[in-house]
Amino acid sequence: MTTPFGRRVSAVLSRRLVGRYVVLGIGEEAAVAEPGQFYMLAAVAGWGGGVDERPYLPRAVSVLYARDGEVGFLLEDVGPGTHRLCGLGVGEDVYLVGPLGQGFTPPPPGIEAILVGGGVGIPPLAMFQDRCGGQALLGFRTSEHAEAASLFAAPELATDDGSAGHQGHVTDLLDDLLETRQDIVVFACGPPAMLQAVQSRVARHQVPAQLALEAPMACGYGACFGCVVDTVAGYKRVCVDGPVFDAAVLV
């Protein structure tokens, strides 16, 4: 995979809200990312000086879409880095490196993709569905959080408080499916607890799954060895060996 070496500065082209989330579109001539890939992003101005004098490092953000000279991201304001990125105005500059990492591998013909996502971990799935189809099962805390489901075609929903869709976990929806179907591959991203729940379920039902992981990252391109996850083959870097891993290799 070849990508531009080093940082580039581009203007923000668009910014819109989906419920409590922000969609950020950035001009990027060769917008060629695969679902599951990510960029490292930092604002050019005002990066730093937030809570505890952060952010210092760029932030890993999954690609939501990549087309027509624009790459898009879905952000939730959870800390100093996402706060700054969510507040970017149209015309402001960002540093970006990417696309980075190994994305999802589409299923062979005849096998349906089941997309299991939660919270802000849905952009890779939305992009995947857009390109390869598949049934989305999405979990959120409340209906307010669930507004990001609008990025999907015909998703099934679960919310913790039952304010939208099934009351309970998204893995309940997956359980129902796994009881009846074997001709599927599961694609999942979301919080660690959700991914673990998916991993143990697919293992029990011997269904293949690809999990998109997150880890604290400094560089995003394999330079620092900071983002490792334990696998059957030892520690692997999430940024270059992932973020998508076969569920079977994760320990």
Binding site: M1, F5, G6, Y56, Y221, G222, A223, C227, Y235
Partner: protein, 291 residues
């Protein structure tokens, strides 16, 4: 052209050990990385005798103007390094400096002997920041330990030996002087400063898998400048200065206080092309000051 321990370098900016895995970067950025390699020399990540997995994750924490890492020196061990990495690194077309660490003088000796056999290796950097089993301190934290170490390894090779000093010491200049007296061809500093972060939640539990880690980035630059200045004033051998360099202006300051070369570490995480950028800014800076 810059001369450093008899090695010719294109410019004065090299990478800090462990902050630029060139094999991964080439996979990501393609051959452009080799064609426009950002550094005037390539310093390997620390190599140890046996393979090391490194510390359990999480390994990173961001702090005010910097970061803390507890990577824990993962590496495939010296045999795999010699068999597979040295050849790849030699392809970069810049001199290769191999960084090694042992937990005793004997381990260092074995590493230096093995690495020195290889023609591709231009110089060897001794990372003496490993805790000494006997004293609990870093091997490099006291001058006597350093002198003893060099007495063992210096006779083993004629290749330049660079001693990478630890900043976690009361008197880094005394350590540098000991390294010089023992026959080191150069010293490099600073390594990361011992630091800690806690897991969110309030139970005093360390966040990092290695419990403590090392602080790097702009936060430590003023400390690096003081240590480099005090070392450069004390020893005659060349000094590789590093710690928090993110611009040509930062690099120029290390050179002003006496460093021969400057290494860029954490800034490469923010900007993969930081090495070339800093070198270019440095050249512009000197052109301006000369004018």
């Amino acid at each position: 052209m810059i001369e450093f321990c008899g090695i010719e370098l294109e410019h004065q900016v090299i990478n800090a050990s462990g902050c630029f895995d060139v094999l991964a970067a080439r996979q990501v950025f393609g051959e452009a990385l080799v064609e426009r390699f950002p550094f005037a020399a390539y310093v390997s990540k620390t190599v140890t005798l046996a393979a090391r997995a490194g510390n359990p994750p999480p390994r990173l924490w961001e702090s005010a103007g910097g970061m803390i890492n507890s990577i824990g020196l993962p590496n495939p061990g010296v045999e795999v390094y010699l068999a597979h990495h040295v050849g790849e690194y030699a392809r970069l077309g810049v001199p290769l400096i191999t960084n090694v660490m042992g937990s005793s003088a004997g381990e260092f000796a074995e590493l230096v002997e093995r690495v020195a056999e290889r023609e591709e290796v231009a110089a060897i950097e001794l990372n003496v920041s490993c805790p000494n089993v006997a004293t609990g301190l870093d091997i490099g934290a006291d001058p006597r330990g350093l002198r003893d170490l060099l007495a063992v390894v210096r006779p083993l090779t004629r290749k330049p030996l660079i001693v990478k000093l630890t900043p976690n010491t009361a008197d880094v200049a005394a350590c540098a002087a000991a390294a010089e007296a023992g026959g080191a061809d150069a010293v490099s500093l600073i390594n990361t400063l011992r630091a800690m972060s806690l897991a969110p939640g309030g139970h005093g539990r360390p966040w990092l898998g290695g419990r403590t880690g090392g602080l790097s980035g702009p936060a430590i630059r003023a400390i690096a400048l003081a240590q480099v200045a005090s070392v450069a004033a004390r020893v005659a051998v060349p000094v590789v200065g590093m710690g928090g360099v993110s611009s040509g202006a930062d690099a120029a300051e290390l050179l002003e206080v006496g460093a021969r070369l400057v290494a860029v570490g954490s800034e490469s995480f923010r900007d993969p092309a930081a090495g070339s950028r800093v070198a270019a800014e440095l050249a512009a800076h000197f052109a301006e000051n000369a004018a």
